[in-house]
């Protein structure tokens, strides 16, 4: 098991190197001068910051290769991502402050997706080609097409018009009022989990149909095992492995969706931090959020890989 974990972590190294290069290159090598953009957008001249100071602050006064190694070296050795250009606070501190909100929203959305997607997927497979199956499949495609920012907008506008109710627009900390905090997170989590539940439902259905044709299911039914037990104990457990993989693959989608929903529901998470940084052209923050989000997704996928053994005894860590 330990050897497997070590091998799996080592296999991540090239991916992480490419991910860091993508972050670095995206912000620095795209046509157009970042400094000019910052100067024009923020009227930095009025702020008495010279172009040279900005270049030095961003580390742009050094050769490109040196910039990369300096940036990634500071991150790997000290966990430093530099300082925000406007707040002068360490970027890592800002990120660590916001990360739990996005993480919490993502976890709630994941729970929603699994609670909705798996039962409907199982039902849809068991009742293949019935009216219920068609309704479930149509719901799934519709859920994929519904833009979360539109649903979020409708939730903000129509209850306010009809009943004078609107969601909280200031974060209530969990420590202050746990129930209201969870209640505040529920609507964005439901919206964020909507599209994911559709993907989970479609994959669960496909995998259940595949598994239910296997000999061991036929054997279980032939020996008189109740269909309910056969489905839950034999079929579902085997059908769930690709669904777990899907959780890893969908992690970037969840984070991306969280950016928009945090903006609509005024949740101070990573998405809002990124959008604030974009509006201020605060590149150390943009780069930091970009990198941490990528790393988080890579490590979620690692955890997903390592969890296979818990679900499927056939998976051996050799």
């Amino acid at each position: 098991m330990q050897a497997y974990i070590v091998r799996r972590v080592l296999a991540l190294v090239p991916t992480l190197i490419f991910a860091s290069l993508i972050v670095f290159v995206t912000v620095r090598l795209i046509p157009g001068d970042v400094i000019d953009l910052m100067l024009s957008t923020n009227d930095i001249g009025a702020d008495r910051k010279s172009r040279e100071q900005l270049e030095a602050a961003l580390g742009f006064d050094r050769p490109m290769v040196s910039q990369y190694f300096r940036w990634i070296g500071a991150f790997v050795l000290d966990g430093s991502l530099g300082q925000s250009l406007w707040q002068s606070t360490p970027v890592m501190e800002d990120i660590l402050h916001r990360l739990p909100i996005t993480f919490e929203l993502g976890v709630y959305a994941l729970v929603v997706a699994l609670l909705v997607g798996i039962p409907i997927g199982v039902y849809s497979a068991v009742a293949q080609d019935t009216v219920g199956d068609y309704v479930a499949r149509s719901f799934a495609i519709l859920a994929l097409a519904l833009p979360s920012f539109w649903v979020g907008t409708l939730v903000m506008v129509f209850p306010a018009i009809w009943w004078g109710w609107s969601p909280e627009v200031k974060l209530i900390p969990f420590s202050e009022d746990p129930l209201r905090h969870i209640g505040q997170m529920t609507i964005p989590a439901l919206i964020l989990g909507k599209a994911f539940s559709a993907v989970v439902m479609r994959l669960t259905r496909t995998m259940m149909l595949e598994v239910m044709r296997q000999d061991y299911i036929r054997t279980a039914l032939a020996k008189g095992l109740a269909p309910r037990t056969t489905i839950l104990r034999h079929a579902l457990r085997n059908a769930l492995i690709p669904v777990v993989t899907l959780v890893g693959l969908q992690a970037p989608v969840l984070v991306g969706g969280a950016v928009i929903l945090e903006q609509i529901f005024v949740l101070p998470g990573m998405g809002q931090l990124l959008l604030e940084a974009v509006s201020q052209r605060d590149y150390p923050v943009i780069t930091g959020v970009f990198l941490i989000v990528g790393l988080a997704v890579v490590f979620i996928n690692l955890l997903v890989d390592l969890s296979y053994g818990l679900l499927d005894p056939k998976v051996r860590y050799r």
Partner: protein, 297 residues
């Protein structure tokens, strides 16, 4: 005479192929056929928005501001008295341009990376795939926001960024198809006759991976429209006064939704219907083009 003899039979199979496809689509995949019809209507509205729209997309009429949907203004008017129906039609035009251009670019990028990486294999493939792994670790919207923040908003940048974004991710699908095709006997035969690499890729590999490529293109159109709407909603898409569907749900339109709730309905409904139609058509296309996928699943 000879040329006539050559051209006449060549045209017939193409026509019958398309006709057969449409017959199968409407007979076997009614939901997919519905999606196809909606896609055609969407394309028509987008192409002929200038002729169909009763008003200009930025034609202001202060006296008619925030009028609810009615006989004169089918979808109502916004806070500046602009006709929402006309803006929706022009929005369809922008969505058609951005959706088709970015999806086409994405497909070309996917094909180039997927075909070359999948066919060549070895260390080249390994390096390219680690790059794709790294790229896919980032949420689409986060990449879009970061890149647009550097290059600035606008239709051109949005098309290029969406094209590259979905192109790199989609290359996995093309590569997967190439990996199975490259082992076929006709590819080995071409290799043994000394055919050049470009010829093998162009004449033998590419035509045999066209089915997944067509499906990829279709699904990418929907994904691009959804992503562009999200970007416009965040104020990072094509800048106003261009009437993008996502943009209509944000900015000044959003501030007046409480007085004119219809402002929140039409753009979102259009995005949902079009993306839904493209997805169900894409699903049907996949089933019809791939014999292994035919059936109810």
């Amino acid at each position: 005479m000879t040329s006539l003899a050559h051209t006449a039979p060549a045209a017939a199979p193409v026509r019958s192929g398309l006709w057969n496809f449409l017959v199968r689509l409407f007979r076997d995949k009614p939901l997919g056929a519905f999606g196809f019809v909606v896609c055609v209507v969407f394309l028509f509205c987008g192409l002929f928005a200038d002729l169909l729209a009763p008003y200009g997309f930025n034609q202001i009429s202060p006296i008619n501001r925030l009028k609810p949907p009615g006989e004169k203004y089918w979808f109502g008017t916004d806070n500046l008295g602009r006709d929402m129906f006309s803006r929706i039609l022009y929005g369809a035009q922008l969505s058609v341009i951005i959706g088709l251009s970015a999806a086409a670019l994405a497909t070309v990028v996917s094909v180039v990376i997927g075909v070359v990486s999948g066919y060549l294999g070895g260390k080249f493939d390994m390096v390219v795939q680690r790059f794709v792994d790294g790229w896919m670790a980032f949420p689409d919207l986060v990449i879009l926001i970061v890149v647009v923040s550097v290059v600035g908003p606008g239709m051109g940048p949005v098309i290029v960024i969406l094209g590259l974004l979905y192109g790199i991710g989609g290359s996995r699908i093309v590569r997967g198809a190439v990996l199975s095709v490259r082992e076929n006997a006709y590819v080995h035969a071409a290799q043994s006759t000394g055919a050049s690499l470009p010829r093998i890729l162009w004449k033998h590999i590419l035509p045999n991976v066209m089915a997944p490529v067509i499906v990829l293109f279709t699904t990418r159109v929907g994904a691009v429209i959804l992503a562009e709407s999200g970007l416009a909603f965040l104020g990072l898409g094509v800048p106003p006064p261009a009437p993008t569907w996502g943009g209509m749900l944000s900015g000044s339109g959003r501030a007046f939704m409480y007085q004119g709730p219809w402002l929140a309905l039409a753009p979102g409904l259009c995005i949902t219907i079009v993306v839904y139609a493209i997805n169900v058509f894409g699903d049907a296309l996949r089933d019809l083009l791939d014999p292994r996928m035919r059936g109810s699943r």
